[in-house]
Symmetry: C2
Subunit: 116 residues, 2 copies
């Protein structure tokens, strides 16, 4: 359902510049110029990154005089985490099952061909 949204979020987070922007915005809203400051790329490049982030839903932008303050949205970040978390939990579940199996085998060595 949210597959498309999730796709956009992961796409957006794939770029290190955009991740840095997200990390910065996690500390508080910032204008485009402020966000651009740490990087050695042009303003239009930053503008493009922000557009990608905006379309992915990771950020929203308002208007304040000439500036366009950027705001980090929590939901897409949550969606990304949820996806990874699910995979990780399945991975764990699988591991636990193996553990359980090994325990069962050890507990009843005569059954299930534990010979040797």
């Amino acid at each position: 359902m949210t597959g498309d949204r999730l796709d956009a979020a992961f796409m957006a987070l794939a770029d290190p510049t955009r991740r840095a922007i997200v990390a910065r915005l996690a500390r508080g809203d910032a204008t485009v110029t402020e966000l651009a400051e740490p990087f050695s790329i042009s303003m239009p490049a930053i503008s493009k990154h922000l557009k990608v982030l905006e379309r992915s839903g990771l950020i929203t932008r308002s208007r304040q005089a000439q500036t366009r303050p950027c705001h980090l949205e929590r939901e897409p970040l949550d969606a990304a985490i949820d996806w990874i978390e699910t995979s990780r939990q399945l991975w764990n579940a699988r591991f636990d099952k193996l553990e359980a199996h090994l325990h069962a085998v050890q507990a009843t060595p005569s059954k299930k061909g534990t010979s040797r």
Copy 2:
């Protein structure tokens, strides 16, 4: 420090096909043919995706007769989650601070120029 590794992990997870492969592998190891089965793309395309996943550290591959079983590694998945989680926590901390501030303001309306 792990910035490069993190970069590779997010890059790898940006593609929906690769995320589907990761999700599949979370349920257990699988061969290349098995992984390719749900998709309508060619085997070499799958092979390329697997190489991306392998170089990102998300999966490892062994050899079993002619097949190359793929195995999901947990660490890069953890690294990705950690990064997002950190951002999210900062986001929350910021919010909490605001809440605290508002509470403080409400508690002592005469101080700090709450005049309106």
